[in-house]
Structure formats: C-alpha cells, structure tokens
Amino acid sequence: MTAPRTLYDKIWDDHVVHQSEDGTCLLYIDRHLVHEVTSPQAFEGLRMTGRKVRAPEKTIAVPDHNVPTTLGRETHIDNEESRIQVEALDRNARDFGVNYYPVTDIRQGIVHIVGPEQGWTLPGMTVVCGDSHTATHGAFGALAHGIGTSEVEHVLATQTLIQKKSRNMKVEITGSLRPGVTAKDITLSVIGATGTAGGTGYVIEYCGQAIRELSMEGRMTVCNMAIEGGARAGLIAPDEITFEYVKGRPHAPKGAAWEAALAYWKTLYTDEGAHFDKVVTIRGEDIAPVVTWGTSPEDVLPITGVVPSPDDFTGGKVAAAQRSLEYMGLTPGEKLTDIRIDAVFIGSCTNGRIEDLRAAAEILKGKKLAPGVRGMVVPGSGLVRLQAEEEGLAQIFIDAGFEWRLAGCSMCLGMNPDQLAPGERCAATSNRNFEGRQGRGGRTHLMSPAMAAAAGVTGRLTDVRELMAETV
C-alpha cells in the first residue's frame, strides 16, 4: 500500500520522465500555451539550433497581450512593435505547425480563457505557458504554472521541464460565502492573509465547502491569483462541476475515451491523511467584499475599512506602505468608500469570463456610469463576447456608458493602447495593482466584477451590498 498522497503528489508522480539522484526531475508537459510576448526569443532559439517543436499537437498559440481591443485590428495594428510581435507569432505558428487562434478567429482571446474554453485544459494534466497566470488552469485539477522564455524554448524542444518538487500547502475555505462575496474576494482575502510571498515554494490546493460551491469560472478566478500569493501553482480537485464544464468541449475526449478519462479523473483527489507542509483555514462567512488600497496584491482590506497607516506595519513593509500611499495618493484613516475613481476596467484572465460579465451587468442593469467615470469591458475571448451579446449583457454595458471591446489582455497590463493616464484611479477586476501596471502613474484598486460595477455607478469605491439591497 502506498502512502497517502496529495492531489499535487499524484499529478507530479504521473508526469516524471526521469529523476536524478538529487531529486531533480524531468517533468512531462501535456499542454503548452504560447502567446506573442514571451515566445519570439524561444522560437528564434529553435531556429538558431535547428531544433523542432517536439509536440506541435500539444502546443496552442494565441495573440492576446499586445492586440488592440478595438475594431479594425484584424487588418491593421498601428503600433509597429506590437504588430511585429503578432506577425512573429503568426509566422512561428505556421512554420512550426502548432495549433493557432489568430485575431481573425472568433475563438481568439486571452490564452488562459481560450485553453479551458476549447477543452485543451483537462484534469490531471501538466499545463505551462510563458505567463504567470497559467495558474488559472489549476481550477481543473491540472498542475499549471508560468515559466520564463528560456523554459518556453525548453518545452518546445523537449516537451518537458527540469523541475524540483514544491511543497504542499492547503488553503481551506470552510462554510459558504455571504451574498455579494465572490471568488475574487476569496482569492484576494487569502493573499491578504498569507502575503505575496506566503506561497513561495509551495503548490496550493484550495478546498473546503466554499470552493466546492464555486462554478468553474469562480474556481479559475481563485487559482489565477495563486501566483500573486507567491505559489508555483494553485489546484482544485476535479468534481462533477468540472466534468460538466469539460464535457462536449472541442478538444475534450469523446465516447469511450471520455469514459476512460472520467475514471482516471475521479482518482484525482487528496488521500485521507496526506501530508501538507502548510495549512491555512479561512471561514467563508468571514470573507467580505474586499478591495486593494496599495501597490501589492497583499494590500487587501474589506470595503468597510479605512486606509491604513505605515505605522500599522513592521519591517520592510513600513517603507513599502509609505511608498504605496504616496503613489496611490491616499491618506491614512480615509474611509475606503470615500475614494473617488476615474475609470472602471472589467476583464482580464482573472475576471473576463461570462459569469464575471453577468455579475457586473446585474449591478449595472438600468444604471449609468457616474459622471466623469469612463468604463471599459473587455471580454476574455471572442466566444465570451458573442455569448454576452446574445444574453443582452453587452447592451446593458453599452447603455450604462461602457465601451464594449474585443477580446484581449488590454488594460490589465496596458501593453496595447488601453492604459490609464498618470494619476488616474481605476476600479479593476484584474490581478495586479503594481506601480505603473495599467499605465505610468495609474492607480489600480483590485476587486470583483460586481464591486467594480458598483464603483462605476457611484463614482467611488462602493460596498456592492448597498446596491444589491436597492435592487431587492
């Protein structure tokens, strides 16, 4: 009888190609996702050494970071450097024969939304991408993490990665969430509790009733930000909700293969008594709608709180908080709900899925953006955009005064023309509030789609529960 294993242990064990005496492993990679920003140097490396892509059928490329989200991009990208990068991906996808969704394809979108949507991401797989938010795919019980460009080249050439095993960490969210509280509030609250380095060296398994009660969209939001807590990856054991989501997707197994896959997937859970090196437990009932106040994703507070003072911290965080407050233009003691905003951004691999757009539209129905506030909705993929149009969500956003954009990463990182101006303050559903992330001098407050919509309506950070009470 083998010792009890965690979900991470099981996926790891099933992918070890070779193990050296010192524990260094060659780990097989089942799916390799590729985008235009972190791959050109890797493909160039292959050309220079005369190497091929070992498994083009397991490699999926899509441009997302750089692409404009306005009409007309299919024929022309104004920014020359962006255009060169997108053209390089076109050429590399063609030359090396990998699966490809160009901007002209309705299925194009953010790589971490396209993968699950098309059924490329399946339980028990190893999934990598030259992008830290690859952690998203962990929602399926897949071991998924970001890699650098040198490692992208390594995976292209060998379909493996040189890895050492991380430690196991369990994050349990007990009980149920209260109304107005979402997956985004869970994931931000966990980072608030553990810090941005709290997960360093670990793979997190999220579990507990509140996690089980989440849809796949919500689970992807939770796992997406595992990297913001420093973890290599975040995982959620697959269950009926997972299987239901996967079934019938274009690249999901069918017929007898589906049955065989299902039997294997049902073995993907942490055994009773398996060892975790670190355990964090949070009561679901204790989680409030939260926002970030500073320039690190760990700067999280319930919306009912006030801006902290540097004196509230210790060690290196004192100077960091001081710097954050200056950058964000905030005063200690100020109520969070008194902070006025200039912009709302709804989208990203964290919150650009259909459920996110539904949640935001629910708050915006029959309402308008506050005077002077600009709003942008960027669906995570062309198919999410289409579905939102069919469900009437797009019209709600347009009626409320939002711009209704094409799919891409957009203002989450501002590589394309969608950026904040210096000093502009944004309620954002994305994942990073770093200095300059959304544009030099731009000020980002992270929150859920419903909270971002609520802030758009009132023109200040807002407790979404107040607006929900109005609609009841």
Partner: protein
C-alpha cells in the same frame, strides 16, 4: 550562457520589499523580439522621468553605483509577471548577482537560465550586506559560487544554500535543453506509456 564562478564588484542597495518584475522592466519594453539591449530600460519608471531624464536619487543613477554588478534587495524580489525580460535587463545593465531574503519562484528560475546568481540569505546577513552596499563604490563585495559564500568589504563572510544541479549548470554555463535532449529515450518511452494509460492526453 556565460559561466558564473566568482564575482567581485560594487553592490547597490535596494531595500524596498516586493520589487516586482513590472518595476524591473515595464511593459512597454516587452515588445522586443530580442533578448539584448534592455539594460537602458532597467527599473525605467524609478530611474527616469516621463521625458527620459535621469532621476538623480535613484540608486543606479548615483555615481557610486552606475557600474554595480550586484544588487542587495528587499524581501520577495522579482514577484509578479513571469517576463524573462527582467533578468535580461539586469544582465544587460551588468548585474550578475542579486542578494535577498527571498525571491519569487519564476524569477529565481529565470536567473539561472541567464547566468545570473540569485543568493538567498537570512535577514541578519542581508542587513549586514545592505549596510555594506550603502558604503558605495569603495566597498566591493565578493560572491564565490564554488564555496557558496558572499564576503562583505570588511571580510565578514556568509554561506548560502543552492540547489546542486543549478550550481553545476551555472558554474559550467551549461545549456539545459542540450542536457534534457540527452534523455530523449526516456521522453520517448514516457510518451509511449502515456499513449496506453491516458490516450486522451
């Protein structure tokens, strides 16, 4: 990749915690399709004003640190985005070693692929080295990978831990892909096995 054996050079102090890769190299410089030439953009928003003028207070703009080869940094250095442009920019500027109490996982791995040594030491040791770095260009630190030590300008020495395989690759400037391709028979047989066990993959 260049080997890393020993390095004696100027260390620049950057005590700020959670220095993320967006700070190390902002997004507008990720549009390159090359690995080189990013040194001028290193720490761009801390280093330069909107119109491109140097901000004199920033450590790497100060005369003593313009030729720094080592950074002594606050906790959780390199967090955030996986962009390998961060180590490319550090390397292009001339930084070959970063010392901190901890590093973000992806950045840490990326360093080794580019001949940069990330050194993890306890807070007390980093505090001593931070103070040493503050002394400026006359205080030169020595980093010795073989003996796994960092020695401050006053001779105080600290031993650090490092994964033996990573150390071996860095000391010899080895190409990972070449090493892994030596195991191609294992990859072939793994793929054959999975074809039977998990044919849907």
């Amino acid at each position: 990749m260049d080997k890393f054996t020993t390095l004696t050079g100027i260390a620049a102090p950057m005590p700020l915690v959670n220095i993320d890769t967006d700070m190390i190299i902002p997004k507008q410089f990720l549009k390159t399709i090359k690995r080189t030439g990013l040194g001028v953009a290193l720490f761009h928003e801390m280093r330069r004003t909107d119109d491109g003028q140097e901000i004199p207070d920033f450590v790497l703009n100060q005369p003593a640190y313009r030729n720094a080869q080592i950074l002594v940094a606050g906790d959780n250095f390199g967090c955030g985005s996986s962009r390998e442009h961060a180590p490319w920019a550090l390397l292009d500027f001339g930084i070959r070693c970063v010392i901190s109490t901890s590093f973000a996982d992806i950045f840490y791995n990326n360093c080794f692929k580019n001949g940069i040594l990330p050194v993890v030491l306890p807070q007390e040791a980093v505090d001593v080295l931070m103070d040493d770095a503050r002394k400026g260009a006359n205080a030169r630190m020595t980093v010795d990978l073989e003996s796994q030590t960092v020695t401050a300008s006053d001779g105080q020495s600290f031993r650090f831990d490092i994964d033996p395989f990573k150390k071996h690759c860095l000391l010899n400037g080895l190409d990972d892909i070449g090493l892994s391709l030596e195991k191609v028979a294992s990859i072939d047989s793994f793929e054959a096995k999975v074809k039977t066990l998990r044919p849907w993959v």
